[in-house]
Subunit: 436 residues, 2 copies
């Protein structure tokens, strides 16, 4: 790239895309000073229906709805893909790579599902894929893994990767709101979609975890292979009960090295209020990364939003433009297509402590039945609290277990649920003990 300018093509111009356009136009001088050459937005491809949506800042003449026009644009060294999803977008990415364009993307779904194949394709054509914006928004967490922590064997990642969920959980725990009320507020403030399923189900965090784990551990997992539980079944009573015990609630996306295997999971988690991760409030994201030499490091910032995510995209563009990323992509053997296959821990074998709440008939012997089922499953109880009286004949009883296998726990809970002395489905929330 010895030219005095670097041409950029942009696919998709929604919230993040328009932020990228804004940065490239408004900070053109800053970037030219840093690079010694200019970044030039040469073409923006949008769908017909998006032609007048957030495209006000796009310079006249470079907006198109025609993929042929887009790909025929000369001197376009970098293609930024912000269309999202798979299907046609996957085809665009493949076409860009085959045409020797470096691809910058925020598309976690695409990477989690097709990453190794796309990386191999990029390598075959001598170009790169950068994806800082796909995980943690404006937090340069992938840069940390790719470069700053390179001397480490990564042992664990404990992360808050979905700002919608963190906002809702913060409102529940700090303001005592119900899940429904907190969700409604998040929607009103623009932190949650009208259909919040992808976020609150944990699936968004799962896809991001798959991406970050691909770099940290060489895991080739699709988002669907990550055990994911959402926050939509959480009840305020459990959050209050755990608060009394010194815990706060977070939706954690966790990747851990377990001997030669890696465990991946996303679930609501009680963590000690003393942990720095417990202090990550509102729509912010954070990743606690444990390296064998650095120990605990944490990365915090805005996990979504126009400008933070655009910051990650444009930083990727700059790193491709200097040529530094190209060298790293070629010489550093950490990319998803290059690492030896790593086995995942099956979901039944995931381990944690757990908080359980059952509604039990207030009569002798009930607790004995429950703890006996747990005991048969190899699960021992470390604490038992009957923390408030209900109006009817069932009373809520909370238990805390020692470390147990997820498979054993879920099986035991089914048996407990079937007991005639138990009313409704037991609540279960994992307690996560972060490494020192």
């Amino acid at each position: 790239m010895a030219t005095s300018s670097i041409g950029i093509g942009l696919i998709g111009c929604g919230t993040v895309g328009s932020g990228v356009v804004k940065l490239l136009l408004e900070q053109a001088e800053l970037y030219a000073q840093r690079l010694g050459k200019r970044l030039e937005l040469r073409r923006v491809l949008v769908r017909e229906k998006d032609l007048h949506y957030k495209t006000e800042q796009v310079p006249p003449g470079i907006l198109t709805t025609d993929a042929e026009t887009f790909f025929a644009t000369p001197d376009m060294a970098i293609v930024v893909e912000l269309g999202g999803g798979r299907g046609p977008i996957s085809q665009f990415v493949r076409r860009a790579l085959a045409a020797k364009k470096n691809v910058v993307t925020a598309n976690k779904a695409l990477l989690a599902a097709e990453g190794p194949e796309l990386f191999a394709l990029a390598r075959q054509h001598g170009v790169t894929i950068s994806f800082e914006a796909s995980c943690g928004g404006g937090i340069p967490c992938l840069t940390a893994l790719e470069f700053g922590l390179m001397a480490n064997r990564i042992d664990g990642i404990y992360s808050i990767l979905n700002g919608t969920c963190n906002y809702i959980l913060t409102e529940m725990s700090q303001q005592g709101k119900s899940y429904a009320a907190a969700l409604k507020e998040a929607q009103e403030k623009g932190y949650a979609e009208a259909d919040p399923t992808l976020d609150v189900s944990g699936k968004d965090a799962a896809a991001k975890l798959a991406v970050v784990a691909s770099l940290a551990f060489g895991v080739q997992a699709t988002g669907d292979q990550v055990w994911a539980e959402g926050i939509d079944k959480l009840e305020l009573t459990d959050i209050k009960a755990a608060a009394e015990l010194g815990y706060d609630i977070k939706l954690l996306a966790i990747a851990e090295r377990r001997d030669s295997r890696i465990s991946l999971r996303v679930h609501p988690s009680f963590i000690s209020k003393d942990q720095l991760l417990a202090q990550v409030h509102g729509s912010f994201n954070a990743l606690s990364i444990y390296g064998h030499a650095t120990g605990h490091t944490m990365y915090y910032g805005r996990g979504a939003g126009m400008m933070p995510t655009a910051s990650a995209v444009v930083s990727d563009i700059l790193n491709v433009a200097t040529g530094m990323y190209g060298v790293a992509f070629r010489e550093l053997r950490i990319w998803p297509d290059q690492q030896p296959p790593v086995q995942l821990v099956p979901s039944d074998e995931l381990q944690s402590r757990a908080y359980l709440r059952i509604n039990a008939k207030d009569q002798p012997g009930v607790i004995a039945q429950v703890t006996s089922i747990l005991g048969e499953a190899g699960i021992s109880v470390s604490a038992l609290m009957q923390h408030e009286m209900a109006a009817d004949q069932f009373v809520p009883v909370a238990l805390i277990t020692h470390q147990c296998r997820q498979g054993s726990l879920l099986a035991a809970l089914k048996k407990i649920e079937a007991l005639p002395v138990i009313n409704g489905k037991p609540a279960v929330i994992r307690i996560v003990d972060l490494p020192k």
Copy 2:
């Protein structure tokens, strides 16, 4: 670097150096897998008196006390400088650069004093200087600034860069210990040196701030040009008083963009307990970095210690070994020798709110005299508390000011100190309001 191994020379083998040796030996396979070539430690230069100090792990035959032998070692592409200080070490670094060796260093004092010159020398000889370990220990904060946040104009950095001070302040605020007692404990636990002056005076943090600001803002400042106040005059009574007002105490190293100028300062600071930085306890470090696009991001981890700092050094080695850092060093114009000169804000013009405590004679008109001196200096008072009664006729009075110029504040304090109705030197601690 097309060879199948990369030779490394190490100058200095104390705590961090022995950590580097340990990583290079123990993780040789991991690094070979990541690089596709082996990192080979070819020579270790130590002083005569250090020959048997922490050098047990150095392979036989490669330890030397002779600089000529060191520099005559063939195939040594990278020289790691962990001797510290300036003088002879500066000469070694210059000699290594002139011999076309890439230098990796943790030497903040050297960089803060001679950075631009050394960078220019490296450039002249087609090699690089990497320095992640010079600031924030194991936290990859420079990597974040160099690559992950590259799309941003950096507006402010608020950081805890000295673990000794943070340990002492945590003990004072959480355990109610005096400064002297907390320092003694820090020394017993190995967090503080026998002579703790460099740390507790704020000078260590100032040199680190100069390094991080050179990348973030292009400032060419020596550590001595950074306004630095230490923690050794802090009294527990002030920390307790501020705690009641919702503040926690930290030694903050602050760099802020003020129009076209940059302000640099290190001083004890009251920050709101709600801030994430207030949750950084014990010997940990953290940097809150505000980018114009990302907004607030924070980086947290161990700021010192054998393995965390060695992690930063070896990550630098790996990034030099791939060639990625060489490209960035050549193509990215952010290095201290390349940025246009930036003016510093003179220390008199530094701005902040302030907490003041004076011991005033308990008689009518005294407060009026004090506030009148402040008023004449253009400093208005937002709160005034007479928070406890003393046994003698002087009572401590605490005041909180609105934003004021440091020069005006210090001049007013001299006048107040000279009042006959005031006993002793007024205590002053800045209150730092972090950006949203």
